[in-house]
């Protein structure tokens, strides 16, 4: 389990998070939603260990995150940042291999990198020079990198993948590919947290969901029970309705204007 318990965080005068709690369980995809500035990225950074909460606690397997060494942490959780800033001419394959830095070297390194590229749908880009790729292609290569970091099941201990808006620069088809890959990764035993803007994607691919508003948790729980019209309307301040279309397995979320 990777768990934030009643965490609060301020930057200057701004209270970015107020007693927020969230649990990522192995084998499940957890969607984190909320309007811009609600504190999604801050909560993700607290869970990653980049920031320390002013109050409350973040724990990995019931042990406070601060007590883990950087190396131990790196073998258990990986973080996909919102923006990339790599300007040097590595190939896509080399970028993914960078993800293997904290791992115990195995004889399967080349295979793992290839599998991770495959899982992110970028196997065909593996010899391309990273800075020459498009924004969406770069995002998928980075996705492959963070999956490679956690590729081998660390025994039966949990591995946690934190994805900060992985779909932001992707086209419609690739958004679904990306979340399908995240799902498969969760099915291999990892816990996945994914920050999303589109509640339809959250409904389609996540098991659990948390909605933040103004630094507080507005709702949290199984996705279908959490992403209701009422809660989403309240979170985003626009009228949201949920329709169950005949012949479609999942409900669809509409905004009324």
């Amino acid at each position: 389990m990777l768990r934030a318990l009643d965490v609060s965080y301020r930057a200057g005068d701004a209270q970015l998070l107020q007693e927020a709690s969230l649990t990522i369980a192995p084998g499940r995809v957890h969607a984190l939603l909320g309007p811009n500035g609600a504190g999604k990225s801050t909560l993700l950074k607290l869970l990653a260990g980049d920031l320390r909460p002013h109050s409350g606690a973040v724990a990995l397997d019931a042990r406070p995150l601060g007590e883990w060494s950087a190396g131990e942490r790196a073998r258990r959780r990986a973080v996909l940042p919102q923006h990339d800033s790599l300007r040097f001419g590595f190939t896509a394959e080399e970028v993914v291999a960078l993800g293997r830095l904290p791992c115990v070297p195995s004889s399967r390194e080349a295979e793992i990198v290839r599998d991770a590229l495959e899982a992110a749908g970028v196997a065909q880009l593996r010899h391309r020079i990273y800075p020459t790729l498009s924004g969406g292609e770069r995002a998928r290569v980075q996705f492959a990198r963070v999956m490679a970091q956690l590729w081998e099941a660390a025994g039966d201990r949990g591995r946690f993948l934190l994805l900060d808006e992985p779909t932001a620069s992707l086209d419609l088809a690739h958004q679904h590919d990306c979340l399908r890959a995240a799902r498969r990764f969760a099915e291999s035993g990892a816990g996945v947290l994914v920050v999303l803007h589109d509640p339809n994607l959250a409904l389609a691919y996540s098991d659990d969901a948390t909605v933040l508003r103004a630094g507080r948790v507005l709702a949290s729980g199984p996705t279908a029970a959490t992403l209701t019209g009422e809660i989403l309307s309240s979170a985003y301040g626009i009228e949201v309705a949920i329709h169950q279309l005949p012949g479609v397995a999942r409900p669809l979320i509409w905004t009324r204007s």
């Binding site: 950087a70 073998r75 590595f90 904290p102």
Partner: protein, 344 residues
Amino acid sequence: MWRRPPTLLLAGLAIALVAAAITALMLGPVNLSPAKVLAAFGIGSAPLDAFERSIIVDLRLPRLCLAVLVGAALAQAGATMQGIFRNPLADPSLVGVSAGAALAATTVIVLGHHWGLTRIVPLPWLLPIATFAGGLAAALLVQRLAQSEGYTPVSTMLLAGLALNAIAGAGIGLLSQIASDLALRDLTFWMFGSLGKAGWRELAIGAPIVLVSIALMLPHGRALNALLLGEAEAGHLGVDVEALKRRSLIVVVLATATSVALAGLIGFVGLLVPHLIRLRAGPDHRWLLPASALAGALLLTLADTAARVGLAPGELPIGILTALLGGPCFLWLLVRSRRHAELL
């Protein structure tokens, strides 16, 4: 998974360096055959008289060692600095580290005697200490000035370096006004760089520092690679980013400051060499660092031989030659990176 380890490149550079070294020992006012050069090291049985041995061992060999050492130090310092600033245009001479070191050295040369410093610490020791202090001060200043939110914008960094270079240049100019004739000749040497000054005594101090600083950096190739992803990203991969940056910066300053103490200001080596290696072998620091050291040593050996032989009996200051080569290449890099704005 990785590009094939460029062992061929490393081997080729090493062979080229040996060939260049032998050539450097052969050429000069008195030209000697390769067999005689080898005989001076006890290889083969070519006849070698005491005069010829003295030319090789006492005159040309210390100079060759200096070229190899300074070239390797500057090139690897450049590669390391580009890694920690995550910027292919970072270079100890461009961002003012060398200038800070040279200003400190000039101060010691001109005023050290007045202040009685040279009576406490002899000049061959005092110089590396002063250049290290000056270089470190400049490096910390640039880092403070240019870094914002874990990212170092190129333009700010280059502008900070420009200002530091101007300040150091003014300081050196000021000191040259009050310098004695003897000290003045030394100052010219600092400004243009020369491999003709150091003898075995200076080398005995400088060589261990440079070799240790190169060796200290080699195990951190993978961590530097991770740092290129971004500081937060490297942290997520388990790299202690602050420690890595601190260690790297000290190594950069050690190598640069020692080079300045031994040979004055020699610019552009740290910019040019890693760039050429990246074109050939990619940005992986595990190969970039050793390959840059070898190629830097090769470049300075060749450049110094050309500077000695080309204008004999005079010689072109080596710093002028590297600026002649490096300046246009730097401009070309700037133009190219403007065209590929995203690459900067």
